[in-house]
């Protein structure tokens, strides 16, 4: 194959990566995008195989086959809930591959007795370093998520100092490697070993809840490692694809942090990743799950039936107009919205009627408890806005509770529940609400009006 054609085909692959990555950003095109980028990858592999006449090497074909089979099997058998650790593991493999390629190139030059140019030297060292950190870091992330090791942050004294020292040592050794005469190989191996240790140390102080950010970051690293390998073996598709992943990964990590209302630095060095759930620890040690506005927006934007459960908090937030707007929007997208009005929601008889009438919610949409309680199980989302006691399952089960015996709205029967309130404080009856700790429940903390307004903006952007 003429070199120009090869390069051109690589360019096509790179373009497919670009388009694929772009499409991955929207729910409607994501799947197609992933497939485009897959085609690009296939093209790059085929071109490489042809070009280097590699087809002859049986062992390579076998290796490819083994890798594919294992990868495919892992991907198919993993449970949906274990996706993040799966990605971590695969990412580690990618980092490992970069490490191996960089190492091979280094050893090849060493053995051939060639002194590589300074740029090749530097990029080789970078691909070793980054590849190793990615590999070991990803494995730790996997272990934390898989609960092979504790998900809690592991800290010890002087941790940052030690990490810094380690990093300095690696840089020093790598530099030394570049200037020492041939045949001195110990810095090479030491760099790899230290980098592997560094990867471990960087990830262990981060809590399990923050792992997705770390994985995304490590993914960015593995992109950069691939890019560095591209410099080493003078291959543009590696440079381009690696750089794409490198930068988009960092941006994605930042977006993820923003969604958690944290900074990237806080996630990486805060060493309190494990505390994130503290706000929602019940007395029995249960934790609540928080949801971001974007996430809630997707849930609501694609729901077929949404049942709104308004409570006193809706009135306090004066969010009646905002909820009406949200409902209109969902309906314009083809969903259905109903309001479940509990007889004692609010602080006076008919409180919710007064509010919703003000926002011109048609009376037909206001459903009495008896009328709607059976519909909850059909609902994709029960959207509980500033209500608490009226959806508290304790009324059904907990004989000691002051609200025992009060009929409640079956919000917990919905396929998923989003609860909007400002914090974890109790309602009028002053008791804790189990519903918030239900695995199906996601809490959207904040003033109800603000949350609703942001939701509207987000759904419009879907």
């Amino acid at each position: 194959m003429p070199v120009a054609l090869e390069l051109l085909l690589y360019l096509v692959a790179a373009v497919l990566f670009v388009l694929g990555l772009k499409r991955l950003g929207s729910p409607l095109t994501a799947r197609q995008g992933n497939r485009m980028s897959g085609v690009g990858m296939l093209l790059a592999i085929v071109v490489t195989l042809f070009d280097h006449g590699i087809l002859g090497y049986q062992e390579i074909i076998v290796g490819m086959f083994i890798g594919s089979a294992v990868g495919f099997w892992m991907a198919r058998s993993v449970k949906m809930t274990s996706m993040p650790q799966m990605v971590a593991l695969l990412n580690g493999f990618g980092g490992g591959a970069s490490l191996l390629v960089g190492g091979a190139e280094f050893l090849k030059a060493e053995l051939a007795g060639v002194t590589p140019t300074i740029d090749i030297g530097i990029t080789t060292q970078l691909s070793l370093l980054i590849g190793s950190v990615t590999l070991s870091g990803s494995l730790i992330a996997w272990a934390k998520l898989q609960e092979v090791m504790t998900g809690k942050p592991i800290t010890f004294p002087l941790q940052k100092v030690i990490n810094g020292g380690l990093f300095a040592a690696i840089v020093g050794l790598a530099a030394y490697q570049l200037i020492v005469p041939q045949q001195v190989l110990w810095p090479f191996y030491t760099v790899i070993a230290l980098a592997l240790v560094l990867g471990v140390l960087l990830v262990i102080p981060i809590g399990g809840a923050d792992m997705p950010v770390v994985i995304s970051l490590l993914n960015s690293y593995s992109g950069i490692a691939a890019s560095m390998t591209g410099f080493v073996i003078h291959n543009n598709v590696l440079i381009i694809a690696g750089a794409l992943v490198g930068s988009s990964g960092i941006i994605l990590s930042q977006i993820m942090c923003k969604a958690m209302n944290r900074s990237l630095a806080n996630v990486l060095f805060g060493a309190f990743g494990g505390d994130a759930g503290a706000i929602g620890k019940s007395s029995e040690g249960l934790t609540v799950r928080q949801v971001t506005v974007e996430d809630a927006a997707v849930q609501l934007g694609y729901a077929q039936l949404v049942i709104v459960v308004p409570g006193y908090g809706l009135a306090v937030a004066q969010a009646q107009h905002a909820v009406r707007e949200l409902a209109d929007l969902i309906e314009r997208r083809g969903g259905e919205v109903k309001y479940a009005i509990h007889p004692v929601a609010g602080r006076m008889p008919g409180h919710m009627n007064v509010l919703l009438a003000e926002a011109n919610v048609p009376y037909e949409k206001l459903c009495e408890m008896d009328q709607i309680n059976d519909d909850f199980q059909r609902a994709d989302v029960a959207l509980v806005i500033g209500a608490n006691d009226v959806v508290n399952p304790a009324a059904r089960t907990d004989e000691g509770s002051p609200i025992y015996g009060m009929p409640i709205l079956n919000a917990d029967h919905a396929k998923s529940i989003i609860v909007m309130k400002r914090g974890m404080s109790a309602g009028f009856a002053g008791i804790e609400n189990e519903l918030f700790y239900n695995p199906k429940t996601a809490m959207l903390f904040g003033d109800a009006k603000k949350s609703l307004t942001s939701l509207v903006t987000e759904i419009k952007a879907l």
Binding site: L24, A30, A75, R76, L90, F93, L111, G246, V298, Y302
Partner: protein, 96 residues
């Protein structure tokens, strides 16, 4: 040296492009997007193949072929897993 600068140029342009490509992503897509990007980073397979096919004796063997295995796992596993995650988005067509 000019070749290096050219490579750097490509690197810089691709970096900018990566930054610009990622915009307001709904949280539900964070994991699939991460996973999809991870699959792309499996491009190291090209490097692995080059090394494995380079014919440098044991280096090709030991380093190259294991790199190929690793990278292939990353590539195939990555794309498959992403596709599985994204299945759910094709269920309901958007009514507008």
């Amino acid at each position: 040296m000019e070749a290096l600068v050219l490579s750097i140029t490509l690197f810089v342009l691709a970096t900018f492009l990566g930054v610009e490509l990622i915009h307001r992503i709904p949280t539900t897509l964070h994991t699939p997007l991460m996973s999809g990007a991870n699959a792309i980073s499996g491009i190291t397979i090209v490097g692995a193949l080059v090394v494995a096919g380079g014919g440098f004796g044991w280096i090709s063997w030991a380093f190259g072929v294991s790199a190929v295995v690793f990278a292939m796992m990353n590539v195939v596993g990555g794309y498959t897993v992403t596709d599985r995650m994204l299945e759910m988005f094709t269920k309901k067509p958007e009514a507008k």
